[in-house]
């Protein structure tokens, strides 16, 4: 059954949560539509996990409403959660049972899931070889697959994955990304949380950014990212003269080491690079000028802003507005 695009699968309306007297989540609102991969981006401790737990009825909101396919998650969990598959934090299963027994266990908690369907999801996640081994013998990657198999059992309309790339190697992350895209193409909505902007950029269509319990922005990933400044890194054989040339142009700002928060791995791969903020389209013009001035250009690199910078930019805008 294909869903109509733009149909809202998950709707979070003005949800808040206090634990004791302490407010943890403040009035958050966003929608997830059919067939999209929705990123939920925020640093650790920003309220991501609390929000995800509210989406699946593990935590009751203090205010607001969460609906899945029109059913209230907190009032009618047995109807709303029928459409949801999820992994909250780590995919914990019963270690003393086999993978198959675990799947059969969760299948019995839903209606009309046959052994054939269990075999089907086992094949989808590629676990055929080890499915009859005890789960305690599984590696983290295999537990992750089993968790996804469990989440897919009921052919959900919404798949919720909490930091799914945690503990996976780069190859596993790449496979997971492709897999999630395939699921979305088949009409399933996927809700993915992460604290890494790059991951969300590579995977998601739309994103909600959460900070200190508030959703500070919701929108298309590229649109949000473009709001923050990008950096252009220059590695040249005569940095002093290059800096002098840059200084003559008002359109170029040289960014000191303490001002930017570029990924350290990138800085390490371009030792001694000059970090500038400039209109990226002007970069080729600068290469010509350097060559004309006899300065050898070894590398030019455009760096995306970090999540922190995006936050600064977004919260700054909030203050002004």
């Amino acid at each position: 059954m294909k869903l109509v695009r733009d149909e809202v699968v998950l709707s979070v309306e003005r949800v808040s949560k206090s634990i004791g007297r302490k407010p943890i989540i403040h009035d958050i609102t966003f929608d997830v539509r059919a067939g999209e991969i929705f990123g939920f981006l925020g640093p650790n401790g920003s309220g991501k996990t609390t929000t995800i737990r509210m989406l699946v009825d593990l935590i009751k909101p203090s205010g607001g409403r969460i609906t899945v396919c029109g059913e209230d998650v907190n009032r009618a969990p047995e109807r709303a959660l029928m459409h949801v598959g999820c992994i909250v934090e780590n995919p914990e299963m019963y270690g003393y049972m086999t993978g198959w027994e675990n799947l059969a266990h969760f299948a019995r908690m839903q209606r009309d899931i046959t052994d054939a369907r269990i075999a089907e999801v086992v094949e989808i996640v590629g676990m055929d070889a080890r499915i009859h081994d005890k789960v305690k013998t599984y590696s983290l990657g295999m537990r992750q697959r089993l968790g996804i198999a469990q989440a897919l059992l009921g052919a959900p309309k919404l798949l919720i994955l909490d930091e799914p790339t945690n503990g996976l190697d780069p190859k596993g992350i790449k496979e997971l990304r492709t897999f999630i895209r395939e699921l979305a193409d088949s009409g399933m909505s996927v809700f993915v949380s992460s604290h890494l902007l790059s991951e969300i950029q590579l995977m998601c269509d739309r994103v909600a950014i959460i900070s200190k319990g508030r959703v500070i922005a919701v929108g298309k990933v590229e649109e949000l990212v473009s709001q923050a400044e990008t950096y252009t890194l220059w590695q040249v054989d005569d940095p002093d003269r290059a800096i002098a040339l840059f200084a003559q142009d008002a359109g170029v700002r040289i960014v000191g080491e303490s001002e930017h928060r570029i990924d350290e791995a990138l800085i390490a791969s371009l030792p001694g690079a000059i970090v500038t903020a400039m209109d990226p389209s002007g970069a080729s013009g600068w290469v010509e000028r350097f060559v004309a001035a006899g300065i050898g250009v070894q590398a030019v690199h455009r760096a995306a802003p970090s999540l922190e910078e995006l936050f600064l930019k977004l919260t700054e805008g909030e203050k002004v507005g």
């Binding site: 634990i19 699946v56 959660l81 999820c86 914990e92 003393y96 049972m97 969760f106 908690m109």
Partner: protein, 328 residues
């Protein structure tokens, strides 16, 4: 919206696969032979002391029959003596030495001794981590995010617990009967045993004393042991809902059960202690007229106290489990 039977099947399977029941049976298989050996030693000792037990029985029957015709013996005591003579005569007629145990009497006395401590501990092995293990391993996040209402999940766990408690009691009786029978013989089901003693103040009221068979007595014992074990199980179930760590929940309940045994021995002047659940666990004391731990306790009283504790524990368990936020 899964059906309740499937949920019960899940929970029963999990306890089974965790090999909890296997551990209980294993403990029984190790301990019961030890008790059987001890009982055998006692029987041998008695045999050495009373060489001609038939002559001794006959003498006791004559003594008691004589006492019946005496006017100085009060009427209610006569009833008890009639009952005693009946039992002794039965033993003589059926060539049963009352000092040698058989598998049935051994099982009955084992059940009576096990109700206070042994059975509760076996029950705790299963009840203490029924809910807390789901929380400590994190599987509760999978369990509660399935489209099933929380009270139905807890109910399936409660029914599973009831099944296993019943199974533990049947297994205890069965292992004890089968193992002791190897030594003492499997006879004894139809032997009479006297019940109906009532304590009235400091006197024993024997008005309702009558004989039943050892087999029927075993059923009565198992019923009472089951009730007391279920109360322990339900309290442990509540602690398991409230406490995340299995070790903490096990220790809490063990402390409660053991302190009940200690209190029973010292609380006879602290009257209000009789409302504590743990001094009421030994329901079998009422069957044969042994004095209860605290004055004024009767079978009905103990059943009522235990019942109230169990219902309160169930209310707390369901209220907390259905409302609580799963934060980790």
């Amino acid at each position: 919206m899964a059906n309740q039977l499937a949920l019960i099947q899940n929970e029963t399977l999990k306890v089974w696969k965790k090999k909890r029941f296997a551990v209980v049976v294993l403990i029984l298989l190790v301990l019961v032979p030890v008790f059987v050996y001890a009982q055998m030693k006692i029987a041998q000792n008695n045999q050495d002391k009373f060489v001609d037990w038939r002559a001794e029985l006959r003498q006791r029957i004559i003594d008691n029959t004589n006492a019946l015709s005496s006017d100085r013996v009060p009427e209610e005591w006569k009833k008890w003596r009639v009952a005693l003579v009946q039992q002794l005569q039965y033993d003589l007629d059926h060539d049963v030495n009352p000092n040698t145990p058989n598998a049935v009497t051994f099982t009955n006395s084992f059940l009576r001794n096990a109700v206070g401590m042994f059975i509760p501990l076996m029950v705790l092995a299963i009840a203490s981590d029924l809910v807390s293990s789901e929380r400590s391993t994190g599987t509760i996040k999978m369990l509660l995010t399935r489209p099933v209402r929380r009270w139905r999940i807890l109910l399936s766990k409660l029914i599973t617990l009831t099944l296993y408690v019943s199974l533990i009691i049947v297994a205890t009786a069965a292992v004890s009967y089968l193992v002791s029978g190897l030594v003492f013989g499997y006879e004894g089901w139809r032997e009479p045993v006297f019940v109906g003693f009532r304590l009235a103040g400091s006197d024993i009221d024997t008005a309702d004393v009558h004989a039943i068979t050892q087999g029927a007595f075993m059923l009565m014992l198992m019923g009472l042991v089951w009730f007391s074990a279920m109360v322990v199980a339900i309290l442990a179930f509540m602690v398991s809902v409230l406490v995340r760590s299995t070790a903490a929940s096990l220790v809490t309940m063990m402390a409660a059960v053991i302190s009940g045994a200690i209190l029973s021995n010292m609380a006879s002047s602290w009257k209000s202690a009789k409302y504590l659940f743990n001094v009421n666990l030994d329901l079998t004391v009422y069957l044969q007229g042994s004095p209860p731990p605290i004055d004024g306790m009767t079978l009905g009283f103990s059943l009522a106290v235990l019942g109230v504790w169990a219902i309160a524990a169930l209310v707390v368990s369901f209220a907390v489990f259905t409302k609580q936020d799963i934060l980790n």
